[in-house]
């Protein structure tokens, strides 16, 4: 036993797979301790906020200390942020079309470009051949560069409670900085928000946990049923074998996933909890474990150590548990790992079809994919809403399959290299 374990942990593939899975598991366990936000809370007003650090502007202005930093590239950055290279090219295009000689325009000289623009641009003028969308685009650019070169401080004013007139409260100079640590409200949205305005990362961690549990429950159920039926059919044989194999063959003929869809559909949306789905998956996927275990047992039950155990007067249950089970244990572990990983995938498949767990309580990896697809995250290019989910699903099933391959190499001497 110890010897086997030591061998297993010497297999490179197993170690890599195991480490990936353990890392995922650790994150899933530790993350909720550190970040205590409810995973399904809607925080964003709007859909698909991009990943980043969100700093509360109100709190930044009211930070206890405003520091003055004289940084050389601050002005350039400020302008660059509002007037990107493609905007400059577009402005040149407009000016040329308007009739300004091309060699007079230098798009790298911001001041000159803005002066030319100021002098010539007319927001109401729609040049011939220009689409309406393009026309609106130039209006937007014009609005954004308004006051771009100004060096005046921004004024913070509040209305006087009596007269209603605005009163200046503070001046924010362009060299004023707030330390992020001193800003009262900063929220890191490492993976942005989803279509409902929920924190994708927090949701992803919670979903991974739920999906792992679903896989585990489905795998446990499938392996338990498959193992029990396989052992009984294989060892006892005869009528028991015939009856059990009849049911197994019945299940083999019906495609499992179709069965899964039908059952999930008939349970109904509001009765489909995560565990219910896991159970449905488990109850429909034991078939091949049963078949595989049965054929292993068939070849084991005629071995002499089993005969010797019979001759020593041991009972059938004891022989099955002591003389058969340990011999197929490695096999069963491998089947279990595969069942877990295919259970996770089955949940994802069901949820993408809209037949997964009901959507109100817990996120699952499949549900996140489902939401991302319904709200067209992939078409809108909101990668953070679906790509991390895909990567997580792939990593979980990759790590498990890798562990399995590693185990196979340890237990199956023919595969050793």
């Amino acid at each position: 036993m110890q010897h086997t374990l030591r061998q297993v942990f010497r297999s490179g593939k197993f170690i890599v797979g195991f480490s990936i899975l353990m890392t995922i598991l650790l994150i899933v366990i530790i993350y909720p301790w550190v970040v205590r936000h409810p995973p399904l809370q809607i925080i964003g007003q709007g859909t698909f906020f991009p990943p980043g650090i969100y700093v509360n502007v109100y709190d930044a202005i009211h930070a206890p200390t405003l520091y003055t930093l004289n940084l050389e590239d601050a002005a350039a950055n400020r302008i660059g942020n509002k007037l990107r290279q493609e905007d400059r090219v577009a402005m040149k295009e407009w000016l040329v079309a308007f009739g300004v000689p091309e060699d007079e325009i230098d798009i790298d000289d911001t001041e000159k470009l803005l002066a030319l623009w100021e002098a010539n641009y007319n927001p109401d003028l729609r040049l011939p051949g220009m689409t309406f969308a393009r026309h609106r685009y130039f209006q937007r650019v014009n609005a954004s560069i308004d006051g771009l070169l100004s060096t005046e401080p921004a004024i913070i004013a509040a209305p006087n409670s009596e007269t209603g007139a605005l009163e200046q409260k503070a001046l924010i100079r362009q060299t004023d900085y707030a330390n992020v640590d001193e800003v009262a409200n900063v929220r890191i949205l490492a993976l942005g928000t989803d279509n409902f305005g929920r924190d994708v990362l927090t949701q992803l961690v919670a979903a991974t946990a739920v999906s792992l549990v679903i896989g585990l429950v489905a795998g446990l159920i499938a392996t338990t049923i498959g193992l029990t039926l396989g052992l009984l059919a294989g060892y006892i044989g005869g009528l028991v074998d015939d009856v059990l194999m009849f049911f197994t063959n019945l299940f083999t003929v019906i495609p499992t996933f179709v069965l899964l869809i039908l059952i999930s559909f008939s349970i109904g949306q509001d009765k489909r909890g995560a565990i219910t789905i896991a159970m449905v998956i488990g109850f429909t996927s034991w078939v091949w474990t049963a078949r595989a275990v049965r054929s292993q047992v068939l070849s084991l039950r005629n071995r002499d150590h089993v005969n010797l155990s019979k001759l020593s007067g041991h009972s059938v249950p004891r022989i099955i548990l002591v003389d058969i089970l340990p011999y197929i244990a490695s096999y069963v572990v491998m089947a279990f790992i595969l069942q877990v990983s295919s259970g996770i995938l089955a949940e994802a498949g069901l949820s993408i079809l809209g037949l997964g767990p009901r959507t109100t309580e817990t996120p699952t990896l499949g549900l996140m994919m489902n939401w991302a697809m319904i709200y067209q995250a992939h078409i809108l290019g909101k990668w953070w809403a679906y790509l991390p989910v895909l990567v997580t699903i792939a990593l979980v099933s990759f790590s498990m399959n890798l562990m399995n391959t590693g185990l196979d190499q340890v237990f199956n001497p023919a595969l050793r290299d």
Binding site: D304, H305, N307, L308, K310, L311, S312, G313, V322
Partner: protein
Amino acid sequence: MVNKGNPCLSGRGVTKIFGFGRHKTIAVDHVDFDFHEGEIVSIVGESGSGKTTLAKMLLGLISVTEGEIYFQGKKRDLSSGRKKQEYWRNIQAIFQDPFSSYNIFHKIDSVLLDCIRMRGGGNLPREKKVEMMTEACSFVNLKFAELTNKYPFELSGGQMQRLMIARIFLLKPKILVADEPTSMIDACSRATILDYLMKLRNETGMTLIFITHDIGLAYYVSDTIYIMEHGRFVESGSADDVILYPKHPYTRRLISDVPKIYEEWDLSTV
């Protein structure tokens, strides 16, 4: 052997068929036999002639397709687990391949402890059990102290097979079926295995059903010989009759294949 004991194990029309239809194999084909108490019976045949299948039927490990086996004059009844356990108190086996005869996950002590338990000694104090196991091991020239807490794969094939004899020493059954007990062992250990087996049988007086593909060896050890070909007994009788005056061509062929049968026996080729 002039005065044979009572028949302890007999068979009439015993047949075993594996598979159905086109894949049917008739492994044992209507064999009749009478094994007598205290006898050493050899069943001789080439590989694939159905010896192991017959042995397993004798042991009650596989069902009999057709025919009847009689144990101590009465029809053998193995219909319940209890009856089988009772039967196995009387008949035991040593298998061909010692490497697959042990549960590799169990320390070898458990094999011997099972025997003590089967003989009703399950509640004996630990020291008494150790004493019995030590005695059994020393019978086959093994040291229990060196073997205890070891796993089967830490032993050599010869040691494993000797331990199987020690097991029989503890069980003291009335009948022992030894299915080619030396064929998977390295040549050096074969003679000793055979010696211990014969010593055990001489001390206990049990009936020994010795299965072998080696007709010379059969002649060397047994009182009665059954020659088996393609699942049938083609010839049987006392060892002298069968070997010195063979009637069936198959028997003659087997005898002619043995190089030095009338000369001094060379045990290293056993």
